[in-house]
Symmetry: C2
């Protein structure tokens, strides 16, 4: 039932009584073809609604002008901004994006990569799933020589280009800000173990405390917090119910901060007067919470943008048989966004 099959280069060649190679060249505006021929070809192509077949082209050229993206989740403000950054660069550079989401599952991530490999994507942009510990599926791509750029979460034991936010510094800034506000009992809701963001933010928190000689109280660190608001709400409820409850909390991400906010409300603890809270990521909703949330901005769009640029550069160097460049790491700076969940510095004389 599907109309006649699409027009091909051959159809044009026959109508014009020339060879397919001439048509192919004309279509690509090849310098060796006469202006007259080109125009005839373009006209006829237009007339019959010719649509080039990228599949055939890619097969022949062994390059697909396509990049594969593997991301834990699409419904996530941060990731959606990353994807947008990727898509914009791809569009500009003439690449297409095949998008896959792992839903944080190792098996699905493996399948995703396999599918993308089958599609012969020219390169990969990967944010590993939380569940992924065995990384052979990723090493495999690299062994095949396909360029890969990692972003957001890093994986120890893997080499390659990477684009990350300076989580350590972001966490340091947040914690240091709390210290400067005069708090001494500052808790940290740390993320799931094994993720670089978890480690780096925890380290930033610790370093800030050490630098100001506050010492680290392991009781003030709760591990394994994710993005489920209700779960964090319970965890925070418990933390805030302790006799010596923290005066301030630095949460590993914004949903955790919101869970903490909810727990404080549950307990009748006033934010920011009786408890200061800082999140991480600057999710879209943080502006609209009550009170609005102080947080650390994580430039998702830029991450996607940079990662895609890096990848495409790598792909094109590869094609020109250029020497493999050494691994590059792009670190984007995180910055503090102060809103209402932390008190205004009283010392500010403005």
């Amino acid at each position: 039932m599907k109309g006649k099959s699409p027009a091909t280069i051959k159809d044009i060649a026959i109508v014009l009584g020339i060879s397919t190679s001439t048509v192919s060249r004309a279509l690509q505006d090849h310098p060796a073809i006469s202006k007259k021929t080109k125009e005839k070809v373009w006209k006829e192509a237009k007339r019959i609604n010719y649509v080039p077949n990228t599949l055939a082209r890619s097969l022949r050229q062994k390059r697909s002008k396509t990049i594969g993206v593997v991301i834990p989740e699409v419904v996530h403000f941060f990731f959606s901004t990353v994807i947008s950054g990727i898509e914009d660069v791809a569009y500009e550079k003439g690449y297409s994006v095949i998008l896959t989401q792992s839903n944080e599952e190792y098996e699905r991530e493996k399948m995703n990569i396999s599918t993308l490999l089958n599609h012969r994507v020219d390169g990969f942009l990967i944010d590993v799933a939380r569940d992924s510990k065995d990384l052979s599926h990723i090493e495999m791509i690299q062994k095949r020589g396909t360029p890969v750029v990692f972003f957001d979460r890093l994986v120890s034991g893997l080499t390659g280009d990477q684009v990350v936010v300076n989580d350590f510094k972001g966490a340091y800034l947040a914690t240091d800000h709390l210290i400067n506000l005069g708090y001494t009992r500052i808790a940290h809701l740390a993320g799931p173990p094994g993720l670089s963001i978890t480690e780096d933010r925890l380290e930033g928190y610790k370093k800030a405390l050490m630098d100001k000689k506050l010492g680290i109280d392991e009781n003030m660190i709760v591990h394994g917090v994710g993005v489920d608001i209700d779960v964090t709400r319970k965890i925070a409820f418990e933390l805030l119910s302790r006799r010596h409850r923290p005066q301030a909390i630095f949460a590993v991400n914004d949903p955790a901060a919101v869970g903490t906010l909810a727990a404080a409300q549950d307990l009748g603890i006033k934010v920011p007067d009786e408890l200061a809270i800082i999140g991480f990521s600057n999710w879209q909703f943080t502006e609209f919470t009550n009170p609005s949330l102080s947080t650390v901005d994580q430039p998702g769009y830029d991450i996607g943008h940079q990662a895609a640029l890096l990848l495409i550069e790598e792909i094109e160097r590869d094609e020109e048989e250029g020497p493999k460049a050494p691994d590059r790491t792009v670190v984007l700076e995180a910055s503090l966004i102060l809103r209402r969940s932390t008190p205004k510095p009283e010392s500010m004389i403005i």
Copy 2:
């Protein structure tokens, strides 16, 4: 610099001393091939890390097992949930998703579709850009016989399968709820002209008023509101500064409702005591605004899910040379979500 080129079916055939067609069949678990041969083939394939080339396969089979998605924006809670729904279905059914965003620009949308056509996607999932009035680029796909499913925004003058939310009814529910709360001066911040969602929500608003004999006051309708919070803030500021200001506002989307919330705060108008506000879409942040926002839930994930199912069904019917099914329209129901930006019904005796 890119290692040796990837292994092919031929490599396997040579090593095992059999023909490529046998290898091809064995790889597909074709019934005519002996168990013994299959196992030899599988083993060798595994040994040399064989990765099938989908490009070649698609070229030969004239189907790519790929669907093209054209969406106005990725960074948008609603759209991200739609994409997620699409991706999940695609994954399950063995299709890949090529994602493009139009950024609401007509030219870019045209390019996106052209690229997708070049990639020979088996079908399209399209949410048209706000700027698109000339729809010949979309008609062109349909004329070629490639299945298309539209979702979210509809375009008059186009035929095809579609998946939409019952915007009319959602708007009716929202407005009716405000009427039932006792308000008589209910304003509507309407969306950009020319979009089906704008029209349908406006009509739902009007119908609810008519049904309760309230009559329609054109002064209470402000047209052309988008998703820019600051812009709406200004528009709402003006609306709320009038002598006879509205008692309640139904906004065409959640960002507009938040802009209204901000304007009310600017003017010292208490929500919900002095002004009730209802949005539309149930964006993620609506739960966290202050006060939290009453809104109409728009099931994005389901839209993506249904649209993808419909499309794949269409694609596969097409391939089996089945008769073209008549256009189908799936309407998903919107439901009211009541939070704190509208007062509790006083009549509720619970």
